[in-house]
Every structure is written in C-alpha cells, then in structure tokens.
C-alpha cells in the first residue's frame, strides 16, 4: 500500500499552503493557500480511508470540500469588500485592529 507517499505528498502540500498563508500579502492568494491546506487534509482523509478499507474518509473529504466551497465564498466576499473600501487587497494594510 502506498500510504507513505500520499502522506508525504499531503505534508508537502500542507507546508506550501502554510507558507502561502504566512508570506503572501494578497488576500486572494491567502485564500488559495488555505484551499491547499484543506486539500492536503482531504488527501490524508482519503488515504487513511483507503488504507483502512473504510469509506468514512471519503465521506469526510466530501464534507470538507463542501465546507471549503462555502468558506471560499465568504472569504472572496470579504476580499471583495476590502477591495471596494480600500482599493487594495493587501492584507498588510488592513490593520484596523491594531491596538
């Protein structure tokens, strides 16, 4: 069974996602990075499900995809609103919560 390969792949994808979230200033790119992270989790779920002969993993993956779609919908709406207000989607400039 090729579990380790899937897990390594998912870990790489996860790390790229985290890197994107931490480094990118563009709001859309951050959302995309979050998608990467979620998909790495999906790979893990499907891989473990296949490994254990359980369809539960695939079911959870489907739920995660659905939730991710909704999340991206909300996230893109927020980004759109930030752009309308500030003419920029640079998250470094959106620091109104600064104490």
């Amino acid at each position: 069974m090729l579990l380790n390969q899937f897990l390594l792949f998912a870990a790489v994808l996860f790390s790229i996602g985290v890197y994107g979230v931490l480094v990118r200033k563009n709001g859309v790119l951050i959302l995309m990075s979050i998608e990467l992270i979620l998909n790495s989790v999906n790979i893990n779920l499907v891989a473990f499900g296949a490994y254990n002969g359980d369809v539960g993993g695939q079911v959870f993956a489907l739920f995660v995809i659905a939730v991710a779609a909704a999340e991206v919908g909300v996230g893109l709406a927020i980004v759109l609103l930030i752009y309308r207000n500030r003419r920029s989607i640079d998250v470094a400039e959106a620091n109104l919560l600064k104490g």
Partner: protein, 772 residues
C-alpha cells in the same frame, strides 16, 4: 416507728404542691400590676383572693401535717418519755420493752417525689439519759421534713436544686404568714382606701407575702437568700409608700441600707457554709453535717457569726435595730404585717432553719453562754427600756417588737428551740393585733400617732379597738392565760436557772434579762394603754370607732392571741386540770423536728415547766403594770388632761434626766451612725473620690480620648488613605499598565496572528509527540 409507712407510698398531694402557696400571691402581684387599675376594686380583690386561697392551702397543709404527726404518735405511742418530772403519761404508755426497742431502733424510710429520692427519715431515738432531771426526751420520729425539689441550674458538674422543704417550722410560718397577711389585706381595704397608690400598695402586699412564703419553704440556702432579699425589697417599697414626704423615703432608705449591712453577712455566711459543708446549699444536709461535727469548727463559727449579722439586721437585734422603729413611717397595716408579724421574724426563722449551725457555731468557748443568748438578752432589755420614752404609739410597739424578737433569739440561744418558735408564733398574733389596733386608733384621731398630744380617753369612743388592744397588751405582757404568758414562761424556764426547770444548762445572764424584760413589757404596755385609752381625750375633733373591715380582723387576732397559748401547755398543767394528756405540748410535737438527724444537738433536753416560776414572772409583770398604773392614776387625779408630770423625777434629779435623754436619743446609736461614722467617713471618702475622679478617672478618660483621636488619624491616613485607597488605585493602575503592555501584541496583522497560531500549533504537536 412505722408512721412513715403511710407517707412512704407517695407524698401527699399537698406536700408535693406546697409551692402553690407562694405562687398564688406571686401571680397576684403580676396580675395586680397589669390589670389592677382597671378593676372595680383597684386590684384589692385579686390580692384578697390569692391570699385567701393561699391561706386555705396553708390550713390544709397544716391539718395534714398535724394529722400525720398525730397518726405517727398514735402508731408509735410508747416511744420516748413524754413525762416530765412527775408522771409518765399513762394514756400513751406502753411496755418498757417496746420503749427500749424504740430508743435504739433505726429505720430509714425514703420518701419519693417524682421518682426522686427525697428525704431520708431517720427514726433515731433521742439518746438523752432518761434519768436526767426534768428531761423530756422524745423518742419518736416526728416532723421529718418533706422535700420536693427539681433541678434549678447547673454549673459544670454541679447541679443546684430548687424546691420546697416542709417541716414543722415551715408549716407553722405558712399558717402565720397567710392568716396575718389575709387579715391585713382585709384591714387595708379600709385603711388605705382612697390612697393614690392603692393598687401599687396591694401589689406589694402580694409580693411581700409571696416572698416570705418562698423564703419559708426554701429547701436550699440559695433560695433562702432570694426570698430574704425579696422580702427586704418589699419592705423598702412599703415603708416608702408615701415617699413624697422626706422622712418616709429616708426611713425606707435607712431600712434598706441597714438591711444591706446584714445581707453582706448573709452572703458571706452562706458561702462559707457552702464550702464548709462540702459544697452544698441543701439546708438539711448542712444541718446534719453541723450536728455531726463534719463542718470545720472555725468555718462554722465564721459563718454563724456572719449569719448572725444578717439576723441582727433583719430581726432588729441590738446595734442594727435602728431601722425598725423608723420603718413605722409605712402604712400601719404594713407595720403589722412586715414589721411585727412576719418579715422581722425572718431572722429568727433563719436561726431555726439552720439551728445546728447557729447553736454550735455561736457557742462561746470556755463558757456555757451562747452569743445568741447574749445578743438577744441585750436587745430585749435595751429595746424594752426605749419603749418607755416614745410618744408615738407605733414606735412603742416597734421597740416592743425589737424587744420580743430579742426574746426569741435569747430563747434560741439558750437552746429552747421550741420556746423560741412558740414565742414567734404567739407574738405574731398579738403584735399584729396591737399594730392594727394602733392603726385603728390613728384612723379615729385623724392620722396621728402621738399618744401624748392626740390621744387619751379613747376607750369610750372605740370600745372594740380598746378591748382588742387590751387583750393584745395583756398577751404581750404575759398575763395568764393569754398567749404571751405560755411562750414567755417557756423561754424563762428554758434558761434553766429556776430550780426544777433543768433545760440545757443554766444561763443566768439571759434569765435575768428575760425577767427584767417581762416586767418592762408589762410596764410600758400599761403606759401605752393608759395614754391612749384612759384619761381625757387630748386631741381635736370627735374620735369614732373604725369600720367593720378594721374591727373584724382585730377581733379575730385578739381571739387568736387569747387561745393560741393553749397549744403548748406544759404536761403537769394539763394533768393538774385533769385534761386529756394528749393536749400537752402539742405545738412542740408539731413543730420541733426532734429525733431528726438534722436537729441539734445530741443531748438536747427540754426544760421542765415550773409553777413557781410562772407565778413569779406573771406576778412581777402584774406588779410592774400596777406601779405604772398608779403613777398615771396619780397624774389623772392632778390633771385629767395631762400626759406627764411637769415636776417629775426628771426635773429634780440630774441622773434621771440624763438617763431619760440617753433613752430619748436611742442610746445615741443614730448619732453614732450618722454623725460620727457617716460624717467622719463621708468627708474624706468624698474628697478621695473627688481626687480619684479628677486625677485618675478623668486622666483615664482624657487618655482614652487622646488615644482615640490618634487612632482616628492613624486610621484615616494610614489605613483608609494609604491602604484601602492605595490598594484600589494600585489595582486600577496595574490593569492600565498591563493593558499598555499587552496592546503591543495586537498589531492588526493577520499574517502575524496566523504565524503565532501555527507556531503554537507546532509547539503543541511537538509536546504531544514528546509526551506520548
């Protein structure tokens, strides 16, 4: 011997519930105080009802008691030797063998109330030698005290009990107090009628009656003190009944303060006795221990002397008697009830209650004289002399009371217990009669008590009062066959000096005092009667006889004064008249707890009566009375309106004048107390108190003030401003500072937050891996 069997089953209801007798007047006191003023008779009806009911109960108790004793005597008839020198009471006689058995027999019977072991009745026979001259030994057990008690309070492991102790002496006083109190109540409804504190007066009469009965029934010395003090308070309140006039409130204060002097003695004595008798307040136990010599002799003497101080103040014995004549400031019925018949005998009663303590404790070592007899003797003569110079009829009677109380103490001092108690009994009746008579007289002559200026010749106007007064006076003077004769004769016989009387040894000094007093009494009573009822009326207005509510009690009391003496006729007299021998010395059998383990002392004997002594004493009294009568008849012949000779002995003889002045000044005792002791002492004490006040008390007060101001400052600046406000400000500041510090973390940079989040997650994962 088996008399107690009847009582063994259970105490009769009356004995158990004898507490009702004091409870009734006590309840009446409260009822009168709360509701008296709203009632049609202003509270008098409550007092009368309560005292009446108490009297009925007391009567029933008395009859039950007498019945028990008579029954006991019937059952064990042959016990002891009732006979005096001459015969042996054939009627009661039994075989010699039985007699012997009784003499050494011993049967302990335990009476019980509510399952409590109550009193052990020791039927110990008197151990007196039969052959003793005139000895009258009673072998039978009679008059065992009936006790009903319950727990009062506990201190640590010690439990104190409250209850009633009923014995012959208590029964006798129950009867006397309730009957005199009842008659005084009736009398008072007329005498103080219309008084502004009528209700208050009756309330205190009730309280007084309750307190006296409570004291009479006390089973422990602690209870006795309570009753004693209550009686004193009532006396104070009633003497000062008309307190608006200064002399009255002064007299009340004097009575109270003089009594306080004695009360200190009472407290010290009782406490000493408590420890001396092995930490007990129980009267019977104390007595028993005193009889058996289980109390340390020194402690016993100390407590007896202290208690004697109490007796001297309450029963007006010499040097502390001065309050009693002044107490006449109170309403006359009060004088009759409190200062003649009941309260003042509290002291004598106390002696009787703790007779072994007094008798053994007050023996003067190295002589056969008892301190009690000495005090009583001095009192009886001293007060008898003072009675001669009084103008105020009530003061004559007051000094006469002091004198008669001295007689009782004298009797107790020479070991004539029964004689003393009997005199107490008879004296209550004739003295109450005399006092109420004096009140009736004063009622008639517009509230004056001055015999010399406002009385005289009253026999024509008020015959009932006159005759009752005559009977009372004759009884007091000891004219046979009235009550005083029997009791006085018994006391004189008890001194044991007269040939053939025997008694407890020979007491010459008390006997001489007693004889002198017998003559004095007759003399001053003749003077009083003459000044009041004979000669011409010297007052103003037209005197009139008093109403029924005054005369009826007088008649009853005069009747009692005539007959109660027959209760204790000596044996030979009864035999001489051919009366049934069962009539002899009834009072003695009923009252004296002879043969009880708590009655003193071993080898106690009764004096035998002596006909010659009786004739001598009453002859002396008659002669003294006759002399005074001649003196006043001579005066009357000169001037019908005169009350004293203008050219009498006093104006001719310097010695007589000086003597008169000493008497008039009451031996200068009041001068000694007020002008010397008080005056000498009060100045320095006042100055010392002032200095103490200025320098020490004020110093303490100022110091305290300064200290509190300092404390206030300290608290304001340090505690309030510094600590309280400081801590609150500090907490505010620290919150502010921490906020200032923490706000730097809040950058608003999402990526920084994400970095922190992921970093933290990484750390957690690392911890998780390492830990698991």
């Amino acid at each position: 011997m088996f008399a107690a069997e009847a009582a063994e089953t259970a105490l009769p209801w009356l004995y158990q519930n004898v507490w009702l007798i004091p409870a009734l007047p006590a309840a009446s006191f409260l009822l009168i105080l709360f509701f008296g003023k709203r009632l049609p008779y202003k509270g008098a009806e409550i007092g009368l009802t309560a005292v009446g009911a108490a009297f009925v109960l007391a009567m029933l108790t008395t009859f039950t008691w007498i019945g028990d004793i008579q029954g006991a005597e019937g059952a064990e008839a042959p016990a002891g030797e009732h006979g005096e020198t001459t015969d042996d009471h054939e009627g009661e006689g039994g075989s010699g063998a039985e007699e012997d058995e009784d003499e050494h027999g011993l049967a302990d019977t335990v009476l019980s109330v509510d399952g409590e072991s109550v009193a052990s009745v020791s039927l110990t026979a008197a151990t007196t030698a039969e052959g003793e001259e005139g000895g009258d030994s009673h072998g039978e057990a009679r008059g065992a005290a009936k006790i009903a008690t319950l727990d009062w309070f506990s201190i640590g492991a010690k439990t104190f009990r409250i209850g009633t102790l009923l014995d012959g002496q208590a029964v006798m006083l129950l009867f006397v107090v309730t009957i005199v109190s009842g008659l005084v109540h009736i009398y008072s409804t007329d005498y103080v009628n219309g008084d502004r504190r009528y209700t208050h007066y009756f309330a205190f009469l009730s309280l007084f009656t309750a307190a006296m009965l409570f004291m009479v029934l006390a089973s422990s010395t602690l209870q006795l003190i309570v009753g004693w003090e209550l009686v004193g308070v009532c006396s104070f309140a009633l003497i000062g009944h008309w307190w608006e006039e200064k002399p009255n409130s002064d007299a009340a204060l004097k009575a109270f303060l003089t009594n306080r002097v004695g009360d200190i003695g009472l407290l010290i004595g009782m406490i000493t006795l408590y420890f001396g008798a092995g930490q007990t307040f129980d009267i019977l136990t104390i007595n028993e221990k005193a009889v058996n010599g289980e109390i340390d002799k020194l402690l016993l003497t100390v407590s007896a002397v202290s208690l004697m101080g109490a007796v001297m103040s309450k029963s007006g014995q010499f040097v502390l008697h001065t309050w009693l004549p002044d107490a006449m400031a109170g309403p006359t019925p009060v004088s009759a009830l409190i200062h003649a018949a009941t309260m003042v005998v509290a002291g004598v009663y106390l002696i009787g209650r703790l007779y072994p303590v007094f008798f053994i404790g007050l023996e003067i070592p190295g002589s056969n004289l008892n301190l009690m007899a000495l005090i009583g003797g001095v009192t009886t003569v001293g007060a008898g002399l003072l009675a001669f110079v009084q103008r105020d009829i009530k003061k004559v009677l007051a000094y006469s009371t002091v004198s008669q109380l001295g007689y009782m103490v004298l009797a107790l001092g020479v070991g004539a217990y029964t004689a003393g108690m009997f005199h107490l009994f008879t004296h209550a009746f004739f003295k109450a009669c005399l006092f109420l008579g004096a009140g009736s007289v004063s009622h008639a002559v517009h509230h004056s008590f001055d015999m010399k200026s406002d009385m005289g010749g009253l026999r024509k106007y008020m015959p009932t009062t006159f005759w009752t007064f005559i009977i009372g006076s004759a009884a007091l003077a000891g004219i046979p066959p009235l009550a005083g004769f029997w009791s006085k004769d018994e006391i004189l016989a008890g001194a044991g000096v007269w040939p053939g009387t025997g008694g407890n040894g020979t007491y010459y000094i008390p006997f001489i005092f007693g004889i002198i007093t017998a003559a004095l009494t007759a003399a001053y009573m003749t003077r009083t009667v003459w000044l009041t009822f004979f000669g011409e009326y010297r007052g103003h207005g037209e005197p009139h006889e008093s109403g029924k509510r005054i005369t009826v009690p007088l008649i009853i009391l005069a009747g009692m004064a005539s007959v109660v003496g027959f209760l204790n006729m000596p044996g030979p007299f009864v035999d001489a008249l051919g009366l049934p021998s069962g009539l002899a010395h009834r009072f003695e059998d009923w009252v004296e707890p002879a043969g009880q383990p708590n009655f003193p002392p071993q080898g106690f004997t009764h004096a035998a009566p002596s006909l010659t002594l009786a004739i001598f004493a009453s002859g002396l009294a008659l002669a003294a009375g006759y002399l005074v009568l001649r003196y006043y008849q001579g005066l009357y012949a000169k001037d019908p309106k005169a009350s004293e000779y203008t050219d009498g002995l006093r104006s001719k003889n310097r010695m007589a004048a000086a003597g008169y002045r000493v008497l008039e000044q009451k031996y200068y005792l009041d001068v000694l107390y007020t002008d010397i002791i008080v005056a000498r002492v009060k100045g320095p004490i006042a100055r010392a108190a002032y200095w103490f006040n200025q320098n020490i008390l004020d110093g303490i007060v100022n110091l305290a003030a300064t200290f509190s101001v300092g404390m206030g400052r300290f608290i304001y600046w340090i505690v309030d401003q510094g600590m309280v406000d400081g801590s609150i400000n500090a907490s505010g500041r620290s919150a502010s500072a921490s906020g200032q510090f923490l706000r730097r973390i809040q950058t608003g940079q999402i990526r920084q937050y994400a970095t922190l989040m992921f970093g933290a997650a990484a750390v957690l994962v690392a911890v998780f891996i390492v830990a698991v």
